[in-house]
């Protein structure tokens, strides 16, 4: 008996797209997402635990304020739940989630009433009468306790310098250099091309170099 493949090809040879989808379903994140699409609430909790910390950190660095970062992180996962049926296993779940997060953050940064000053890592003195500063990041020494005071200061200055980059450069830098995403995935998350991502990264890196001249 002749087997008919997915596109009607005799011999049962699946198309490359089907092969990719079958491979993607072996990814535990994708499997969880498929379970969520089937209505499994536990899968949502597990996805939140897996991606929540990374998304929160990314959003913190993009929007700058702790309270707003937490709200946007919630928005990311609520949005993920609402549009869960649109996810296709052919693309990486992390890319899809970071795309949602990036869009929400860039929308937040575009709001006219929002001050573009990012104060989470701003070590400069606050203006008199200004609200108390948001809680700072966890001590970098806790991440790498072997680093001395100079190293912690360097990391702190780096966080402040990253926070001063233009939003798209910042997003590209965070996704590529910190979250370790491929250029292709960064381009998808930012809705642009790989070439544009490379240009953003180049400008971001040079911007950081200029801001951190005292440390480097």
């Amino acid at each position: 008996m002749t087997r008919i493949g997915p596109r009607g090809d005799p011999g049962g040879a699946p198309s490359p797209r089907v092969v990719a989808a079958m491979g993607a379903e072996a990814d535990p994140d994708v499997r969880l997402m498929l379970q969520l699409q089937a209505g499994d609430e536990e899968a949502f909790t597990e996805l939140f635990r897996r991606f929540g910390p990374r998304i929160l950190q990314y959003v913190r660095r993009l929007v700058g304020t702790e309270a707003r970062a937490e709200e946007i992180t919630q928005d990311v996962f609520v949005q993920m739940y609402r549009v869960r049926d649109r996810y296709r296993p052919e693309s990486r779940l992390s890319t899809w989630l970071f795309t949602i997060a990036t869009n929400l953050c860039l929308n937040e940064l575009r709001r006219p009433e929002r001050q573009l000053r990012v104060d989470l890592w701003d070590t400069r003195s606050t203006e008199p009468g200004a609200p108390p500063p948001e809680p700072a990041l966890p001590d970098p020494g806790a991440i790498d306790p072997e680093r001395g005071a100079a190293g912690r200061e360097m990391v702190r200055a780096l966080e402040a310098a990253v926070a001063e980059l233009p939003p798209k450069q910042r997003a590209a830098l965070l996704l590529s250099r910190i979250d370790g995403m491929a250029y292709r995935d960064v381009a998808e998350a930012l809705g642009t091309t790989e070439g544009a991502v490379k240009a953003l990264l180049f400008r971001a890196t040079h911007g950081l170099r200029d801001r951190l001249r005292d440390f480097l």
Binding site: F44, T45, F48, R49, G52, P53, R54, L56, Q57, R60, E70, T73, Q74, F77, V78, Y81, R82, L137, P138, P140, I143, D144, R147, G151, M154, V155, L158, E159, V162, L173, S176, R177, I178, D179, G180, K198, L201, F202, T205, H206, L208, R209, L212, F215, L216
Partner: protein
């Protein structure tokens, strides 16, 4: 070939990102060996790259954030409209109007209802057409009134099948008690009509009793 410092500094960052071909990496190395400024830049960018690697990738999650998010998701799930299964929903959208149209067409063609009576009752000007033929108003009223099926000619039985009474009458059956009198009241008020027609019960063809 000599490389300009401007090009070298572009290549330094690309080299750190792993984008440079082996041949260009070697070219860059030869330039940096000779150029003190570019060597400093290379060291600085390497330090920057290492520092970026030190930044924490994940944040510590506040415990309430998970609870708050789950609460919002449950609210979103409750607010969402109950969605029919995909296939059923699609076929309902497409199939329901098509099924209704097919049923109406089948009823008109095979249900024994002539095309002219398939129209809504109000669209058929019974009174006007009968009046044009010289019939009295009372006759017109009788023609328009439904008759018991048993007393009608076989050819007309299916044509004038009486429907259910209006909801108002169905709710008050006492309205039927004096129905013959009410019909005849019309004849009493029009003397000319009485001369040409009979009361209910006097003519077997028109009797309802």
């Amino acid at each position: 070939m000599l490389m300009r410092c401007r090009t070298a500094r572009q290549w330094i960052t690309r080299d750190l990102a792993g984008e440079l071909s082996l041949r260009r990496v070697e070219q860059l190395g030869r330039h940096v060996e000779r150029c003190e400024g570019c060597r400093r830049e290379q060291v600085a960018y390497a330090a920057l790259d290492r520092a970026l690697g030190l930044l924490p990738v994940a944040a510590e999650m506040p415990p309430r954030l998970e609870q708050d998010t789950l609460r919002r998701v449950r609210l979103a799930a409750d607010d969402a409209d109950p969605r029919p299964p995909r296939a059923v929903g699609r076929w309902l959208l497409i199939g329901a109007p098509a099924l209704a149209a097919t049923a109406a067409l089948a009823l008109a063609l095979y249900g024994g209802v002539p095309p002219e009576t398939a129209q809504p009752p109000a669209a058929k000007p019974v009174g006007v057409a009968a009046a044009k033929q010289g019939a009295a108003p009372a006759q017109v009223a009788q023609k328009a009134a439904p008759r018991p099926a048993a007393q009608q000619p076989a050819s007309r039985k299916r044509r004038d099948v009486p429907g259910d009474p209006p909801a108002e009458l169905a709710a008050r059956p006492d309205l039927f008690v004096n129905l013959p009198m009410l019909r005849n009241l019309d004849k009493l008020q029009h003397f000319e009509a009485i001369k040409t027609t009979t009361l209910d019960g006097q003519d077997g063809d028109q009797s309802n009793g």
